[in-house]
Symmetry: C2
Subunit: 148 residues, 2 copies
DNA sequence: ATTGACCCTGACATGATGTGAAGGTCCATG
DNA sequence: CATGGACCTTCACATCATGTCAGGGTCAAT
């Protein structure tokens, strides 16, 4: 299969298919005499795997780990489950962080008359010194596609 | 004040202070004869404003809008409130998206025995074709610091 | 042979932020 | 005065996933 066909079959852009090859998530396919990439139909499945995992917010590293487990017919399903559960917690943590932001913002909003007068506790609150969220508690991570 | 003092007073890195100047969120300060930036103490307040707004997940554009409202002594507080409420909804939407991912993932997890056997519905589920999340419904946006 | 659809590589852009280099300045101490 | 350390300057590169564009080759059908 040519890259265009694979792209259509999976919904993954040609750009990203090549990118996944570059970063090692997809194996380098054979090349035809003209230099075109020639994919086995198996590649469609693997790309779907990657795309689905990305849609679920897994990082590239996590996807790599899942793929090597996928490639390993002998691995225990508990290994997979462990990764999935860690990731689920991470998702919960991030969702909670967003909700916390929202809560803080709504507190500010609650004090604001929202009429034609110019005084506004939202702006006043933003200008105040406040404890910055301590980075030690957070894990920098990738942003799930389209969510942020 | 030198940039180092401002940085310490606000917790914003020198790098980012210069960056905010570059993108127009902070006005270009006077320069001393030696070329050093010389900040009025007022800048500390403005930088705190920016930092707090960032911590609440506002985009640079939104912060710019809030700052110009802040600079405008005559503006109605309703304008500020409107921006804040739109942003609060956005935060809620993103949090919900993360929770939805988590739900999908936990569905897969639920089917997995998590023992030493190799068959795993999580991996099988990831390899399956499924509807990709439709982008039309989502708004590409910035990632709140440290959350993602 | 031309045309349109396909493929190739490589490069630039996004956005917030860090890091590092290369160089000037200021001040305190010897 | 000289030296060192702490400070400042600008510029550039890296991150990460993704898009897009440019310049150039290929294939298939007319």
């Amino acid at each position: 299969m040519n890259i265009g066909q694979v792209s259509k079959a999976t919904g993954v852009s040609q750009r990203m298919i090549r990118h996944y090859e570059g970063i090692g998530l997809m194996p380098s396919p054979d090349r035809r005499d003209n230099g075109y990439r020639d994919y086995p139909s198996r590649s469609v499945e693997r790309l779907r795997f990657i795309a689905n995992a990305r849609d679920l917010g897994f990082s590239v590293d996590e996807i790599g780990a899942l793929l090597s487990l996928w490639d390993d017919r002998e691995r225990a399903s508990s290994e997979v489950k462990a990764i999935a559960l860690v990731h689920a917690e991470e998702l919960a943590r991030k969702a909670a962080a967003l909700e916390a932001m929202r809560g803080t913002l709504l507190e500010l909003v609650a004090g604001c008359s929202g009429d034609a007068r110019p005084d506004c506790p939202i702006l006043a609150g933003l200008a105040e010194e406040r404890q910055r969220s301590p980075q030690e508690l957070t894990v920098a991570h990738r942003r799930p596609k389209e969510v942020m």
